[in-house]
Subunit: 138 residues, 2 copies
């Protein structure tokens, strides 16, 4: 647990890590920024971006593969499936029946060296369905 040389878990990084870990869904950098500012009002957006990438690089958080416009971050670094809302962009974890994720990660693509995978279901989240937003972008 001693960490790695030259890496400091500063208050800023801890706050970013906590924000990602405490969120039930997967946050964008902006959303992390908003949450962290409650605790550290002088933190900059640049620091949030740098911290997120650093934490991904250290394996402490994951980055969501899925294809929304914005990048999202994930408290889990395990392979799992995501559900993404086309109306509001929200991303949640989910399960998919009949898909063996371990097998999937072990998939072979001719000539490729495969190192990971992502499954994404796209649709409309409960909130947007109820709000009648179940149409793409208006």
């Amino acid at each position: 647990m001693g960490g790695q040389p030259g890496f400091r878990m500063t208050p800023q990084r801890q706050a970013v890590l906590d924000a990602v870990r405490d969120a039930p869904e997967h946050l964008t950098a902006d959303e992390v920024y908003a949450r962290v500012r409650a605790e550290l009002p002088r933190i900059s957006l640049g620091t949030v971006y740098r911290s997120l990438e650093e934490l991904v690089h250290r394996g402490l958080i994951g980055r969501v593969q899925g294809g929304g416009a914005q990048r999202r971050y994930d408290r889990s670094t395990d392979v799992h499936c995501h559900a993404r809302c086309l109306a509001c962009g929200r991303v949640d974890d989910t399960d998919v029946e009949g898909v063996d994720l371990r097998k999937l990660v072990a998939s072979r693509v001719p000539g490729y060296r495969v190192v990971g995978c992502g499954i994404e279901l796209v649709g409309y989240c409960p909130r947007c369905v109820k709000a009648g937003h179940a149409e793409p972008r208006g």
Copy 2:
């Protein structure tokens, strides 16, 4: 087949459609732009973006779900899997054993209305493996 009211298949749109259909891999807007300019040197990047979105909207091409920075476009609108290269960003079609795509599209996520899905394998493409680029971003 008759097309829809108020939609014109202009030379620009045809060229964009052809570029997407003729490419073995999935192109970014920029790559489409470069190809189309060979034929229509005065076309603008804005027109390429507008045409691509229009063609997606008409169901003539697909948009790649996967999570690269740039959006990519796909000659097929069917559900299928993609392999994405972490080094060069290239996206190819691929197959995955043991995954029933029809079942996957029919997946249920509690509360969600699911309308599509994407499976993406990430790794390093043959060219980048051979070139020794099989490390993320340098």
